[in-house]
Amino acid sequence: MSEYIIEMRNITKVFPGIKANDNITLQLKKGEIHALLGENGAGKSTLMSVLFGLYQPDEGKIFKDGKEVKINNPNDANALKIGMVHQHFKLVEVFTVLENIILGAEDTNMGLLEKNRARKKVLMLSQKYGLNVNPNALVEDISVGMQQRVEILKMLYRNNDILIFDEPTAVLTPQEIDDLMEIMRGFAREGKSILFITHKLNEIMAVADRCTVLRKGKYMGTVDIKDVTKEDLSQMMVGRQVSFTVDKMDIQTGKTVLEVKNLTVPSKLHKNNAVKNVSFTVREGEIVCIAGIEGNGQTEFVQALTGLEKIKSGSIKLYGKELTKLSIRQRAKSGMAHIPEDRHKHGLVLDYTLEQNLVLQRYWTNEFKKAGFIRSKAIRKHAVRLIEQFDIRSGQGPITISRSMSGGNQQKAIVGREIDRSEPLVVAVQPTRGLDVGAIEFIHQELVKTRDSGKAVLLVSLELDEVMNLSDRILVMYEGKIVGEFDPKKTTVQELGLYMAGGKRTNEQTNEQTKASLAK
């Protein structure tokens, strides 16, 4: 019996224009939590897709318990008890949670689905591991966090022993992350082996036993977590020192840019309102952050703000100009840039090339349009500049089909596009979701630069580190209401967490604070 339950030796995988994996070796021990660390496009997802049978390696071998195995498709992987939670979930949106979990491993009796037995097993598993889901809800209706729990349950339902988590915490709240860490530790204690793909160093330090680092498709080494520091890891991953805090000087805030008053937005999921009577302002030269656990109305609020969804009542003013009756395009023209939450659904036309996507919010301006015709040279020039400036990596440069780019680079393209518009207000929703430390550092710097140049930034984030680091003011949203307003210098993550979970609320206080800060 080999020491390693899974061994990937000298894996090489080449895509057109890019060597995604270059002679990579990964050894996973039984019962360990093994982190796989690397920047965007370092080849983590590719390596895992090779292990999961989605890609065939051009070179290299895979061993399970010391025996060489061929994994030609996910079914082979499944037979070897390998399960994976993908970064972009692979769920059938119009199926229920239960149907998704059993899909491919249906329990049948004379050709008929044994849904009740399956439901019992799912409920049992979800209780045992604290993975709270509603088996009868449609996947398209549930939150991202719950979708992830469905993916985890899918693996458990199939009795998998080797669990691959592809950037699982990107979408979770701090509490949820803690829970997930605990769940992972529990899995490891039971003897399951976990491959944990991430670029969040804190999480690796907290939960992993060992860590393999990749950089630009190459193998950088495997280390024992107890022997290294966060700084060591980031150095290995990026190849240089990275600062974890954002340098931000104090600047004077200017005129009010955005003024939201008594905004109420109906919910699509239930009869209640998703956003209830929300009021606040954002001024020139400040980053205001809406913190909160996912699904507390942030998404609906931003969609109402940017015009994607209709509001019920209230007003939105940009430099005093009423926006509520304006179309999406008119709002954008009035001075609002928007980094959307869902980069695949809203941020990009995935089948467009990178250069076409980089003008998605500007193709109609005179810079790129002449007498109704597209100025392709201007678009190319624009793309080349943004690719350079924001370090957007892709196989074929401006003409890469966006779908084929890594998630992090897709995000960089969107962030670059929106910040480059230099509108007075940037609405950034989870702008660093799924990005590595290098890219996060860069995007944070860009947002701060935007603020320093006298623009207003409205940041919606689930990541408390980001919230604490970046914002000048923090608003906590809970069940569609703003339940507290904080100065990041005078509050703690723990306090924010309490408000986010609905444990405390200070409505009156908030109003007083708002008044006080307005008076300043």
Binding site: I328, Q330, P340, H346, V349, Y352, L360, F368
Partner: protein, 395 residues
């Protein structure tokens, strides 16, 4: 890299279409061979396999492939006259595809276009170019209605446009027939009045002979009676190609086609785009009917037209074969018209002319595999060019 990539994308599309065509023809030949075999066998006389093969090849396959050139004097005119409306319905479907819509209603829009053109020609006696305009308008309205339902009520355009196909067909039949006394109806022939004849001077699209010398030679001789409709169709195809690929309007409709949500985020009004592109698709199909009926090659038969005009549905095949590329539509429409005409020239005692439909049917079926061919071809191209590059690098 850049040019290689463009070449790869273009070449692999064209090659995969050609592969589909080749496989379709091969299947066609097998069917011809079997038909030939069964005819010989049922005749009860001794025969050799060579005879079977020769019949299948010479009297079937070769004539199918030759198309109009088997009897070029009459065939060429038929083929060109058919290709023009086929290009237009092909463009209609292709354009809607680009917006992410499936315009199965091209047949109905074509029918309305025919009505508009014939009404203006026969009843109002307008010059042909105004009649053409009418055909566009009638088709556009008929396309816009399903578009409207899709945009505002989220009703699938496939369902509405199929219903509008039949509504359009019977409405047009009823209007033209008018209980036997319709102004456009000639009771003697049970068709609409022949617009090529003297009474309706100026309502027909001019013939190619206007471009030719008094006594044309060679191809000109066969083409002089053919109307210039085909040129309109080709020009429209080119214009459409430019609109789709080079204009901001094209950028918008393609964005809608790929991702409605992202298009919405970009501030593109998807409702407006859906209605507009269905209207344009309808206008294109209607224009096709105008080109056909105003060329004076056929009349509408309100009593026997109980099935939808084939040009409408063949447009779907044409668009699929061309991967919705407007320039490709020109060639795929010519091809479909070619084998259709060729099918008519096969020896009818052996082979029904519907063989042509079988061949085009198989080709369309194979179009579904085009992505598969494409990937393989594009890999092959990379290998060839990649190797070449390495060699060059070695120098």
């Amino acid at each position: 890299m850049n040019h290689l990539e463009k070449l790869k994308r273009g070449l692999s599309t064209v090659l995969s279409a050609l592969i589909s065509v080749a496989i379709g023809l091969a299947f066609g030949f097998i069917i011809l061979f079997l038909l030939s075999l069964s005819t010989y066998a049922s005749a009860g006389e001794p025969f050799t396999l060579k005879q079977v093969f020769d019949t299948a090849y010479n009297e079937g396959f070769l004539r199918l492939m030759k198309g109009c050139f088997y009897m070029v004097r009459r065939g060429l005119k038929t083929e060109i006259s058919q290709a023009a409306p086929l290009i237009m319905t092909g463009l209609s479907v292709a354009f809607a595809f680009k917006t992410g819509l499936f315009n199965i209603g091209a047949a109905g829009q074509y029918t309305l276009g025919a009505f508009g053109a014939l009404y203006c020609a026969i009843v109002l006696k307008l010059p042909w170019y105004l009649c053409l305009l009418a055909s566009v308008l009638f088709g556009a309205v008929w396309g816009a209605i399903p578009g409207f339902f899709k945009a505002y009520f989220k009703i699938n355009e496939v369902i509405t446009s199929i219903m509008f196909n039949w509504i359009g067909l019977y409405a047009v039949n009823t209007l033209i027939y008018g209980g036997g006394t319709g102004a456009m109806y000639c009771a003697k022939t049970t068709k609409t009045w022949v617009i090529g004849s003297g009474v309706y001077e100026g309502t027909t699209i001019p013939n190619i002979s206007v471009f030719l010398s008094e006594k044309p030679q060679g191809l000109g001789l066969y083409l002089k009676d053919t109307s210039i409709a085909i040129f309109f169709a080709i020009i429209i195809a080119i214009i459409l190609y430019i609109i789709i690929n080079k204009t901001t309007f094209g950028y918008e409709i393609r964005a809608c086609g790929h991702s409605q949500t992202a298009a919405k985020y970009a501030g593109i009004s998807e409702k407006r785009n859906i209605i507009l592109s269905m209207a344009i698709a309808g206008g294109l199909a209607g224009f096709g009917a105008g080109l056909y009926y105003l060329s004076g090659v056929a009349e509408w038969q309100p009593l026997v037209s109980t099935s939808l005009p084939g040009f409408g549905f063949d447009g779907i095949s044409v668009a699929l074969l061309a991967s919705s590329n407007p320039i490709g539509v020109i060639f795929s429409a010519l091809f479909i018209a070619h084998i259709d005409v060729g099918g008519g020239y096969m020896n009818a005692s052996f082979f029904p002319r519907e063989i042509a439909d079988i061949v085009s049917g198989i080709i369309i079926y194979l179009c579904a595999f085009m992505l598969l061919f494409k990937t393989a071809i594009s890999k092959g191209i990379s290998r060839v060019f990649g190797a070449k590059k390495e060699l060059e690098g070695g120098k």
